[in-house]
Symmetry: C2
Subunit: 343 residues, 2 copies
């Protein structure tokens, strides 16, 4: 039977503070490219891996009851990816299928059939899109805005980490819905993308604003209806002062807090009462059922160029640790993708 | 025309920090007990006034755009009360009607007819109840639990300020719904009320718990489904660590923060993402339409003794400032009512 090299990215040990490249190992083992007799599993060749901020949380030492999603030191990272089916013991998948879903940070993965994998039916768009605009980040932007955020036409929308994997879509989806949209990001290059590439009404570099409250008041003199929360901390605190009555804050992430051993205190929560604000955490897994409706909405918009997507592509599994760590210093411009193999 | 004395409680000036009795004045003016010709107003004799924590916020110097509800220095406080109609230029009210709604802290009030007043139809229960269990606090407990909190049978409920005007009802309504209920309060006497009088499953004195997280873990080993938030600050921070996945936090008040010039920082908000928690501010005015349904639910329960209500009664308008200020040191046991006149 064919034994092939299987390069992997392993977590060395639980992480405290900012993750470093040295928190991960690149190792090479071998794998037999053949399913065991009678197996229901699926054997995948991984093509593209998704680098996402939530992965940082899975590097923490689990507290309290076991968290089945937390990474295990000595084992490969797990995350969303696009893969090709090499062999399948599961009736839903067959050799040659392209799929996206949870896979491991390695060249080849043997996944239990219980794992949710989405078959990729549309290949006239870049396959990498299934790690981003057509994958978890896309559904997250869509569900967060329209379901959790109950977005109405013409409302005022603010999004942080606005050029990121989710943020760039939040803004574009809101614009398609006739909203006024402003985003914040961490460099001039990124802020320029917001207005020049994604069609936002405005944007600002939060690192150059001495007073975030003043920056928000400048862009939202009449207040914010929906704040799509990706960062937490000081930005959330300033936003709370600028929300409108019955405003909604879908909480997708708080990347500014993930690497802090002591999180920043948010002091303006009483605004939640004064303005009857709804703050709601959510994740993609609660909205998987929307995927067909989401594709129906988005694919035509992509094909007509009405929604665009900026990706930051790193080549080679050995560059995975660097690409992942870069998310937390904001080095990536757009969705960070890691190429394992182009086919 | 009859000129009578009209004792009033006025706000002296905007308040910073804890309110003091000396922040208010007792003055006596005179009022003509006769509506002007052609007036649509309603002339009321005030009987019972409600002392509520939100009133503290109306004593702040208004920031930004004018807040029409903020108190005006030199004018009487405004709040919920039970009153008798002396004369009415409005077709919905007639002499002798008993009503509850917003009125002023004075013996007699001339209110514009646009003001929402609820006619009191059921007088087999104590009239003071319309400042509490059958008034704004009652609807707040009901709407907060069932509408904002989406309470399901058998869930685990935690409520802070649990012996207060709203808290004692939150616990009893949740028990009627087959829930497990624990409350926190600020004295042994109040905690004893929770289990002995209101039928809670447990309670603790937050002032005697060195570690609120540990206290919550003791009472909720499997976590909290609904936290009815009345206090904010450290309690909210500890609760966030103990919420269950898809938990709800209806935010009714944050009394621990109202008197602080710098609010406490809440550091555990990332739990909102990890557990997909919904935190939602609300107030009575958004749920006025539920009042008939609420009465239908509650009146039989009161008559059958299945829901009880503890009131703390202060006699005389001149004792209003002391009664109101006492809320913020937790001096009141149960709903704080101020008697202006018994008839």
């Amino acid at each position: 039977m064919a034994q092939v090299r299987n390069k992997q990215v392993l977590l060395k040990d639980y992480v405290t503070g900012f993750p470093k490249e040295s928190d991960m190992n690149i190792v090479e083992s071998t794998i037999t490219l053949k399913l065991p007799q009678g197996s229901n599993d699926v054997l995948l060749k991984n093509l593209y891996l998704s680098c996402d901020p939530y992965m940082r949380n899975l590097m923490n030492r689990p507290e309290g009851p076991p968290n089945s999603r937390a990474y295990t030191p000595g084992s490969p990272l797990i995350g969303y990816g696009v893969s090709k089916v090499l062999e399948s013991g599961h009736p839903d998948y067959k050799e040659g299928d392209l799929v996206w879903g949870f896979t491991k940070w390695e060249e080849y993965s043997l996944l239990p059939s219980a794992q949710i994998l989405f078959k990729i039916e549309h290949t006239d768009v870049p396959l990498t899109y299934y790690t981003g605009i057509l994958g978890m980040p896309g559904v997250t932007a869509y569900a967060g805005l329209f379901e959790v955020g109950s977005l109405q036409k013409g409302e005022n929308v603010f999004v942080s980490a606005a050029s990121g994997a989710v943020g760039q879509l939040v803004g574009q989806f809101a614009k398609l819905n006739g909203c006024y949209v402003v985003g914040s990001a961490g460099s001039k290059e990124k802020v320029d993308l917001l207005t020049n590439k994604f069609g936002f009404d405005g944007g600002f570099n939060y690192k150059e604003e001495p007073d975030l409250d003043a920056a928000l008041k400048r862009h939202f003199p009449e207040g914010i209806d929906v704040y799509f929360e990706n960062v937490g901390g000081k930005t959330l605190d300033a936003v709370l002062l600028n929300m409108r009555v019955r405003g909604r804050i879908p909480v997708c992430g708080m990347i500014s807090q993930y690497n802090l051993t002591q999180h920043e205190g948010v002091t303006n929560l009483a605004q939640i009462i004064y303005k009857r604000i709804r703050l709601q955490g959510f994740n993609f897994m609660d909205f998987v059922h929307l995927y067909p409706k989401f594709l129906e909405f988005l694919l035509p918009n992509i094909r007509e160029g009405k929604v665009v997507y900026v990706e930051d592509i790193a080549e080679g599994l050995e560059n995975g640790p660097s690409a992942l760590v870069g998310l937390f210093s904001g080095r990536n411009v757009g969705k960070q993708v890691l190429v394992v193999s182009h086919e």
